[in-house]
């Protein structure tokens, strides 16, 4: 298998008057599932467009295996970007879209695509614009997985899917990935649901990469400290606190970074528990400036 290590080299991109991407630098480890997280408007979709070569960076470059992506047919054809809503597909029937995919994706798995269409009951005859939002998302998912592209980008793939179909998608993604390992970058807002999929997490804020690390590493660095307000009072000004809440005499701190006297804390009756990824993400996006400093100091990113 060819090495398709994907790297963004200090990318800048302006869309209209908005600086959508600002000094974004990140290296996506090959053959892993990456979660691309960030609040709405953080630049996730723009970054995926840049990676796929559909947008051209104002500055910087995207490379795959050391080769530039921009206008490189050997690389671009090996990148599949599946969007939740494909405007360009609106006027085509599902069967035509599948035909186009089979013509243009060099490793297209037609058998797998047919099986998935059947399994998810996506009809072949209607035009794309007449499908439900869920079926449109499923079609994008099928495109992404059946392309067998070494680099697969999935932008909000679960948009409009009900809980059962989302669960089916997560299972399908994992089983397909285990059979056909490749680099998958998945942007989503449903973090808790999909957290178990991600081997790496890339956090975007205001157009830049705020953090990129292994999921376990990030989760391991973030913990709740819960105890009496009196016990935790000396730490309240610490830069590593992402969030604090008090109820009566009990205080809970969301802490990012190493804890110097963990044993001592436990002996004092302070509970130390992991922070769910969704909560961590919310805290991180609230405290962007502070986080950058902490992450830099803790060598997380």
């Amino acid at each position: 298998m060819l090495d398709y290590t994907l790297k963004c080299h200090q990318i800048y991109k302006k869309l209209g008057d908005t600086q959508a991407i600002h000094d974004a630098a990140v290296e996506f480890e090959p053959n892993a599932i990456h979660g691309l997280l960030g609040p709405s408007g953080a630049g996730k979709t723009t970054l995926l467009h840049l990676i796929s070569g559909q947008l051209i960076p104002d500055q910087g470059a995207v490379t795959a295996g050391g080769h530039p992506v921009h206008e490189n047919p050997g690389i671009v054809s090996r990148i599949c970007f599946a969007k939740a809503i494909e405007q360009a597909w609106s006027e085509y029937r599902v069967q035509d879209i599948m035909k186009f995919c089979s013509l243009l994706h060099p490793d297209w798995d037609a058998g797998f695509a047919a099986e998935m269409l059947d399994r998810f009951r996506v009809p072949l005859k209607p035009k794309y614009k007449h499908l439900s939002q869920g079926s449109q998302s499923l079609l994008s998912i099928i495109k992404g997985l059946a392309s067998r592209s070494p680099i697969t980008l999935l932008d909000e793939p679960t948009l409009g899917l009900d809980a059962e179909k989302r669960e089916a998608f997560y299972e399908l993604l994992l089983s397909d990935y285990s059979e056909h390992p490749r680099t998958i970058i998945l942007s989503t807002h449903l973090i808790d649901e999909s957290a178990d999929l991600f081997q790496y997490i890339t956090l975007m804020q205001q157009g830049t990469i705020a953090a990129h690390c292994e999921t376990d590493e990030l989760a391991g660095q973030a913990r709740y400290l819960q105890g009496s307000t009196e016990q935790l009072a000396p730490f309240l000004g610490d830069a590593r606190i992402l969030h604090q809440e008090s109820l009566g005499s009990v205080t809970r701190l969301a802490w990012l970074g190493s804890i110097d006297h963990e044993t001592y804390f436990r002996e004092q009756g302070i509970e130390i528990t992991p922070i769910p990824l969704q909560k961590l993400f919310v805290y991180l996006t609230r405290q962007e400036q502070q986080i950058s400093e902490v992450l830099a100091n803790e060598n997380i990113s």
């Binding site: 206008e71 360009a88 035909k99 186009f100 243009l104």
Partner: protein
């Protein structure tokens, strides 16, 4: 090479149904023109059919070039093509389409010239050079395709104002430059080929194709709906 063939197959697959419906409609229109008008002006029957077909083909070219510029570009980019691949495959498709549709039109003229006298039509005795007809029509349709391709490219990249602006300039320039008052039965009198000979039309097409190529070098897929 395989990718190029796949992209040509894409263009063919994208337009084949439209082409089928279009062909059927044009033949019906031709029958209607012959039955409704040709019988009263049998000497002009061929010119009437040609005029009718020219208008229909021009409209069809407008349709497919608009779809190629506005829709096929993001579609192909989303399916792993580069801008250069899209540009060359589109250009090749338009050239092949122009040559093929002109050939079909020329063959229709040849067939009608043989068949209509058998049905009692007294055609004029003008000698038709089928090779020249094929060539001049190919040049005409390719020039139209390039102009509309440029218009749809401008519309996609810079908004509808630029595309319509180009069409307006085209129409006004024809109005200003045409040498003789066109008659209704002279199909080519309303085009640039009436003013420039076919090989100049091909040169103009090449120039417009270069402009399109330049525009596509930095074209981006629209990221919002």
């Amino acid at each position: 090479m395989r990718t190029f063939r796949s992209q040509l197959a894409f263009h063919w697959h994208e337009n084949r149904k439209r082409l089928l419906y279009f062909g059927a409609i044009v033949l019906l229109l031709d029958l209607w023109v012959l039955a409704g008008y040709g019988v009263y002006e049998p000497e002009n029957a061929l010119a009437l059919v040609m005029n009718n077909n020219f208008a229909a083909i021009s409209i069809f070219i407008l349709l497919i070039t608009y779809i190629t510029g506005a829709n096929s570009f993001p579609l192909l980019m989303g399916l792993g093509s580069t801008r250069r691949q899209y540009y060359w495959s589109s250009l090749t498709y338009f050239a092949a389409f122009s040559v093929a549709i002109s050939l079909a039109q020329t063959m229709l003229m040849a067939a009608l010239k043989l068949l209509l006298p058998l049905l009692g039509f007294h055609l004029d005795n003008a000698v038709i050079s089928y090779g020249a007809m094929w060539y001049s029509q190919s040049a005409t349709y390719f020039l139209l395709a390039m102009l509309f391709f440029l218009a749809s490219t401008l519309m996609y990249r810079f908004g509808i104002f630029w595309g319509f602006g180009l069409i307006a300039i085209y129409v006004f320039s024809l109005e200003a430059l045409r040498t003789s008052n066109p008659t209704l039965i002279d199909a080519t009198a309303r085009t640039l080929v009436d003013i420039l000979s076919p090989h100049f039309a091909l040169a103009a097409s090449a120039g417009i194709a270069l402009i399109c190529g330049w525009l596509y070098r930095s074209a981006e897929v629209k990221t919002s709906a």
